[in-house]
């Protein structure tokens, strides 16, 4: 029968837990890691905004789309993996979220194609 127990947090979150399970990453980010990740996200945002001003200087439109989409996906994945703990949690959560997102992307891409959005 399962009992409710409290897993004592390690003083250093990098220490592996005694009851850790083998199918997830044991390295849980520290507060310092989170701050570094946030700084990285801020830099990516600055680059994104920079493309807006670059567009004033006639940057090729296809390049602008590529850069913005790549940066958007990178930021999305970083927040999902680290802030939402998908990297350290059960893969079931990842599949559940990815399935919803994949379904949404698929459905709405089909809708946009049907409406001749892409020409």
């Amino acid at each position: 029968m399962n009992e409710t127990t409290i897993v004592e947090p390690a003083e250093d979150l990098h220490e592996p837990m005694d009851d850790h399970h083998g199918d997830h990453d044991d390295h849980h980010p520290s507060d310092g890691d989170y701050i570094k990740i946030a700084i990285g996200l801020g830099i990516l945002t600055l680059i994104e905004v920079g493309t807006y001003f670059e567009s004033v200087h006639k940057m090729p439109e296809w390049l602008l789309y590529v850069v913005l989409i790549v940066l958007m996906i990178v930021k999305f994945v970083i927040v999902g993996l680290y802030f939402m703990h998908l990297k350290f949690d059960s893969k079931v959560y990842t599949w559940m979220f990815t399935a919803g997102m994949g379904f949404a992307i698929g459905v709405y891409f089909i809708m946009l194609f049907a409406q001749n959005f892409f020409g």
């Binding site: 913005l68 979220f97 919803g100």
Partner: protein, 209 residues
């Protein structure tokens, strides 16, 4: 069945078929469904963003498109504020997991403050847009824009209310270290509204018009 938990997180020993928290599973399922909601709103905006006929006079393209009145530097700043609120949210979770309740309350209040700044900036932006002739019913493009950003704003507001609830519950002694999964679940919602804004900011504001 043994419970599956991330290191440092409370082990509730879930008596479930999956060995995982049902509440957390429910939140992830909910967020998956929210992808469909925001997918609909974003794709609708993409479809209609160039349809800015003024509905009042029926003359083609006589109206003002939302993208004509965007203030990119201002919106960039508010986007950065929302992004940083994700950091403070995860720091709040980290604090409650360690049992540092005062620090948890501090980071939670900071997250609420940053979220409120974002909402205030959105309201200001909407006010300016209306003053410049782009309102909710001006044209199809503006309707799509305000529907999308308005829905997102409502989600952020609900997140702020949930965070304030956590703060009050902790003050009342009802939210302690062993309840940190509740904070984690609210955090998942908050991070989701942040990543949705990452998509909206790029697609709506930064994509070439």
């Amino acid at each position: 069945m043994s419970a599956h938990v991330a290191p440092g997180m409370p082990n509730y020993g879930h008596n479930t078929n999956t060995g995982m928290s049902n509440a957390k599973l429910m939140m992830w399922l909910f967020l998956g469904s929210e992808c469909l909601l925001f997918g609909a709103l974003i794709s609708t905006y993409m479809l209609y963003k160039n349809r800015f006929n003024d509905l009042r006079d029926g003359i083609p393209n006589s109206g003002t498109a939302p993208h004509d009145v965007f203030d990119i530097p201002f919106t960039s700043a508010s986007s950065f504020v929302l992004l940083m609120s994700s950091l403070t949210m995860v720091l709040a979770l980290s604090a409650i997991v360690r049992g540092q309740e005062a620090r948890f309350r501090g980071w939670t209040l900071t997250t609420v403050l940053l979220g409120s700044v974002f909402i205030a900036s959105q309201i200001y932006e909407f006010t300016v847009m209306v003053e410049e002739g782009v309102g909710y019913t001006t044209n199809i493009a503006s309707s799509a824009f305000f529907s999308l950003t308005g829905f997102h704003g409502v989600h952020v507001t609900i997140g702020i209310i949930m965070l304030m609830s956590l703060f009050v519950m902790n003050l009342q002694g009802k939210l302690k270290q062993e309840h940190s999964e509740t904070v984690e679940i609210v955090g998942l919602y908050w991070h989701f509204v942040d990543i949705v804004w990452i998509l909206i900011f790029t697609v709506v504001y930064l994509f070439p018009q």
